[in-house]
């Protein structure tokens, strides 16, 4: 039983990590229907910014709390800036292009950003400072679930709730939904579509940055390649949950994480990804628009 609980928490943490990145994926997908392959890189850049800033600050002797706040802020700011710029450079000119063109542009961007960071910061793994301290009150449970796991779980939940509220009830959220469904009509009711799309990228990227900070601190290391695998998994999670759906992204991430964790725990980690992807295929066969995705409305 204890083993089960251990695996459960390990799966939840992993799932929450996927979910954090999947949130941004799903937002961007929701609004411009683009699988933003560069999102993983945005997350990576967020983590790198946090790494650089926190290292510099700690060398300069700032206190831990200040480092956390400033590094988080910097990560969010620069990630958003990158997300914004990538959209303007690589996707906006392709708004009216065939559907797959922006996808290739995104793949190109992803390769570019990876190599940009590789060249600027070398391919070596860098130790990421432990920004989430080990809380004393967690000590009795530490063999089951660590402090950083707990923080990740809590933050992911908060993010999901916050985002859902944002999309459901705020003006910008409504504008996002309208834009995602019919861009021309959104303009005709007075929505500045460009600005809404930019805002989506900024919010999505900032989320990725928070994810980057937490995850890198949890794993304790980064290099230029961390975005790629995380990105693919997050994308899978987003699809699993129903792409475009915020709670779906979280649910998808958690299911993916749990599957991998239990597959590892009870079967073999050799095939954890095989289990994960098989589950994806299985779920999509029975629910073609993902778990919480709305079936595409197609009136004939």
């Amino acid at each position: 039983m204890e083993y089960f609980i251990e695996l459960l928490f390990s799966g939840l943490t992993r799932g929450a990590i996927y979910a954090l990145i999947a949130l941004g994926y799903t937002m961007v997908y929701g609004i411009i229907g683009l699988i933003n392959f560069a999102h993983g890189e945005i997350y990576m850049i967020g983590a790198f910014t946090a790494f650089i800033v926190s290292t510099v600050l700690s060398i300069l002797g700032f206190p831990l709390l200040a480092i956390i706040v400033l590094a988080g802020l910097a990560a969010a700011v620069w990630s958003s800036a990158y997300g914004y710029t990538v959209e303007k450079l690589a996707y906006k000119p392709l708004r009216h292009a065939p559907r797959l063109s922006p996808l290739i542009s995104a793949i190109g961007m992803s390769i570019f950003l990876q190599n940009y960071v590789l060249l600027a910061q070398t391919s070596d793994f860098q130790p990421f400072p432990e920004l989430i301290p080990e809380f004393d009150f967690m000590e009795p449970f530490v063999h089951i679930v660590g402090s950083s796991d707990m923080v990740i779980l809590v933050v992911t939940t908060l993010m999901m709730v916050g985002l859902t509220l944002l999309i459901k009830f705020t003006r910008i959220g409504k504008a996002m939904r309208a834009t995602s469904q019919d861009r021309k009509m959104a303009m005709l009711v007075g929505i500045n579509v460009d600005r809404v799309i930019s805002a989506t990228f900024i919010v999505g990227s900032a989320l990725a940055a928070v994810g980057g900070l937490l995850i890198a601190s949890h794993i304790g290391q980064i290099n230029f390649f961390i975005g790629f695998i995380a990105g693919i998994k997050a994308f899978t999670a987003a699809v699993l949950g129903g792409i475009g759906s915020i709670p779906g992204a979280v649910l998808g991430g958690v299911i993916l994480g749990l599957t991998e964790s239990f597959a590892t725990g009870y079967v073999s980690s050799d095939y954890e990804d095989v289990f994960a992807f098989s589950l994806l295929v299985l779920i999509l066969i029975f629910k073609p628009s993902g778990l919480l995705g709305k079936a595409e409305i197609q009136k004939v």
Binding site: P127, V239, Y271
Partner: protein, 410 residues
């Protein structure tokens, strides 16, 4: 020519990029030695570089608008002047000699260049065929397949394993590999037919990963990550060829296969089946209402696309003589997809050009060494922006029709 306003905007752009690249390009922090290196020179390069680029883009843009304005101003009958390429493509008077010339060039290529160039060209030709295969699935049938490389792997391992266990030779393996891959195409196709668009994409991606992971983990079957070595090169009538001869031989096999593929794909495209694929891509519901069997048509596309990937897999195994799962990653699928989209979806010539560009480009970018992949990524983006439809966009063929029955369809 450049107004002050434009200068100011370029300046702002440059300022933005300086800000953007600041932490990553300028600071190099080392948490162990606790040192910080400030690379201010990078900031300087970014500032100058982005300023100049921005000005350049502005100049190009203004000239483009001017040209457009001039054209609409002159307004002499708004003939939509077709691009040269399309004129050539549509007129057999130009097309046939051109195709002939290209074929002749391909045939003498190995005698003009060294083995290395021939080898590279063989690789490029393989990607031409892969691209054309994927083009059936993505370009024609509109099914976004991000796991195409799985079929490539199936072909490669078919040959490697059949050879290792049963001593089956290259020429036997070629059709068998194709057949295996096609069967996998159908096996994958069945469950995912219900899925639309990007859901399909992720499932195919997952499928590609599953195949690779199985190859990687199931040692007894595939020898796992250490791969299978000493796969024989194709022999000619049982004679083993020297390396140079074998490279030449594979090259010519590829030239032949490319020609066959172009022929077949071209015929498919202009057939009843090809039209059904395109219609399916445009509107599934209308398609079904017109009496097209969605399942059968989609499966055919999957299977046919996979067939070519399977064949190329066999060639790949024979060419490198060594295969391991690491050659069949998602990135490979992404590259093949890029070939199709960048070249021009649905356009055969486009895919060929796309393959040559994307495969030869990194080879010739070797001079840039470290900056190679950086440039590759940037070029993908830039090409997409300047040619969103692909290098050569597909033009639907028109059918000539004579009332009298004897009239031949051309």
């Amino acid at each position: 020519m450049i107004s002050f306003e434009e200068l100011k905007r370029s300046f702002l752009v440059s300022l933005w990029f300086v800000f953007l690249t600041f932490p990553i390009l300028v600071i190099k922090a080392n948490p162990i030695e606790r040192t910080i290196i400030w690379r201010w020179e990078n900031m300087f390069f970014v500032a100058i570089g982005s300023f100049v680029l921005s000005i350049l883009i502005r100049v190009v843009n203004t000239q483009k608008t001017k040209r457009l304005e001039r054209r609409s101003a002159s307004d002499s009958d708004t003939t939509t002047s077709e691009p040269l390429i399309q004129v050539i493509l549509q007129n057999p008077r130009y097309l046939y000699p051109l195709a002939g010339a290209v074929t002749v060039f391909a045939l003498v290529f190995p005698y003009l260049f060294d083995t290395y160039q021939t080898n590279i060209m063989t690789t490029a030709l393989m990607y031409v065929v892969l691209g054309l295969g994927l083009n059936i699935v993505v370009g024609m049938a509109g099914l976004l397949d991000l796991g195409f490389v799985a079929f490539y792997a199936v072909g490669a391992y078919s040959y490697a394993l059949l050879n290792a266990h049963f001593g089956i030779g290259f020429w036997m393996a070629l059709p068998i590999g194709a057949l295996f891959a096609a069967s996998f195409g159908i096996i994958l196709g069945f469950p995912v037919l219900r899925l639309r668009g990007d859901y399909l994409a992720i499932v195919t991606l997952g499928f590609g990963e599953i195949i690779r992971l199985i190859l990687e983990n199931w040692n007894e079957f595939s020898q796992g990550p250490s791969g299978i070595s000493n796969i024989p090169r194709p022999g000619m009538f049982g004679i083993e060829l020297s390396l140079e001869a074998a490279i030449l031989y594979i090259y010519y096999i590829m030239v032949a296969l490319v020609i066959v593929t172009i022929f077949v794909v071209n015929r498919l495209q202009d057939s009843r089946l090809g039209r059904a694929w395109i219609a399916l891509r445009e509107d599934e519901i209308a398609c079904q209402a017109m009496g097209i069997d969605k399942t059968k048509t989609k499966l055919t596309a999957f299977a046919l696309g996979a067939t070519w990937a399977g064949m190329m897999g066999v060639i790949f195994a024979a060419k490198t003589t060594f295969i391991n799962p690491a050659s069949f990653t998602f990135l490979e699928s992404a590259i093949i997809l890029s070939i199709v989209v960048l070249g021009g979806m649905g356009s055969i010539l486009g895919v060929i050009v796309g393959a040559l560009v994307l495969i030869l480009l990194p080879e010739y970018l070797r001079a840039l060494s470290d900056y190679r992949m950086l440039a590759f990524g940037a070029i993908l983006v830039v090409m997409m922006i300047f040619k969103p439809q692909g290098i050569i966009s597909n033009v639907r063929r028109t059918y000539k029709y004579q009332k009298q029955k004897s009239g031949d369809v051309q």
